[in-house]
Amino acid sequence: MYSQALNTRDAGPSAEDADALARFQARIDAEEKIEPNDWMPEAYRRTLTRQISQHAHSEIVGMLPEGNWITRAPSLRRKAALLAKVQDEGGHGLYLYAAAETLGTAREELVEQLLSGRAKYSSIFNYPTLSWADIGAIGWLVDGAAIMNQIPLCRCSYGPYARAMIRVCKEESFHQRQGYEIMLTLCRGTEAQKAMAQDALNRWWWPCLMMFGPPDTASQHSDASMKWKIKRFTNDDLRQKFVDATVPQGLHLGLTFPDPELRLEDGHWRFGAIDWDEFKRVVAGDGPLNRERLAARKAAHEEGAWVREAALAFAAKRRRKAA
């Protein structure tokens, strides 16, 4: 039995001896979940803190490209759906920050890492939303890719992350369907509307394939993450699953994919070479909107400071009155 508080650093073996590591790996191999108070290698804690917090940052920064179109949605139905979706993304960010905090880093510190540019978020959110069709493409493709990535994370070895992912995946399905419905409506519309949908697919397709991360031959985190069952599939496996699921959906819309090498082979849709230089540039901070996204987050954080201060002051006043 134990009775220590959660969120404190573990007082397990100080030197990570081989025995402790072997016991830890045996638990992982037996599909046991690791929980906040359990002993874990420092590298496992670090890897998860990085991954979960970057996932949280992606949800929060991901509100910006779509938020851009809330006031310009073409109907009340679309506006209500988009508002609900962006609200969900905010909620997903909060579930994830809470899961990351169980590893011992405070949310304030994680947010600070984002705002100072030390922490990354998904490269996809550094691309602009130029037309209404982009909202359709984001729901269909970006959320489709996110779901592909997140479903195996529901079985991640770290309990709080896995449980957060189950909640997120349950809520995410409406996001993809509302996006596909937007695309479907545009594709059944006028020539100009269909051209808008095609243009959105042309611009979002390749950045979406990059969302799964570098190819397996170049990924620096994959091996340990697979061994620890943080990841269940490699980047390339998930990318292929996404392409296989998505190409028939696009063909049903009557759209073409911006890849002349795309072809069906042995039951899989094989695709052309990804521009990894572009990916590296965007991750390194030189994408179309990196500076604007961070500036928007910083402004929101700074302009919201008075709300946090006011809430604390109000709570202190209420305590004084109750005393």
Partner: protein
Amino acid sequence: MTEARTPLWEVFLRSRTGLSHRHVGSVHAADAVMALQAARDTYTRRGEGLSIWVVPSAAITASDPAEKGMLFEPAASKIYRHPTFYEVPDEVGHM
């Protein structure tokens, strides 16, 4: 002389690996360690749990059931938060 009351604790159990802790009931105990022991004796005699949390009952703030209309009704009218609200043709398959 009146006897001091023994504090009340709410008990949460994780029944299987990977599941979250769920509320199962409460126990009286003088401190947290005794509350854990009492919770084990009271709620896990047949292997119901892998892990126990005890939380002082006084630390829990609960919503007022009488306010459930005000708190939860707005969600019922927002059917567009559900996937089935959106049209996806059958031939496109599961999404």
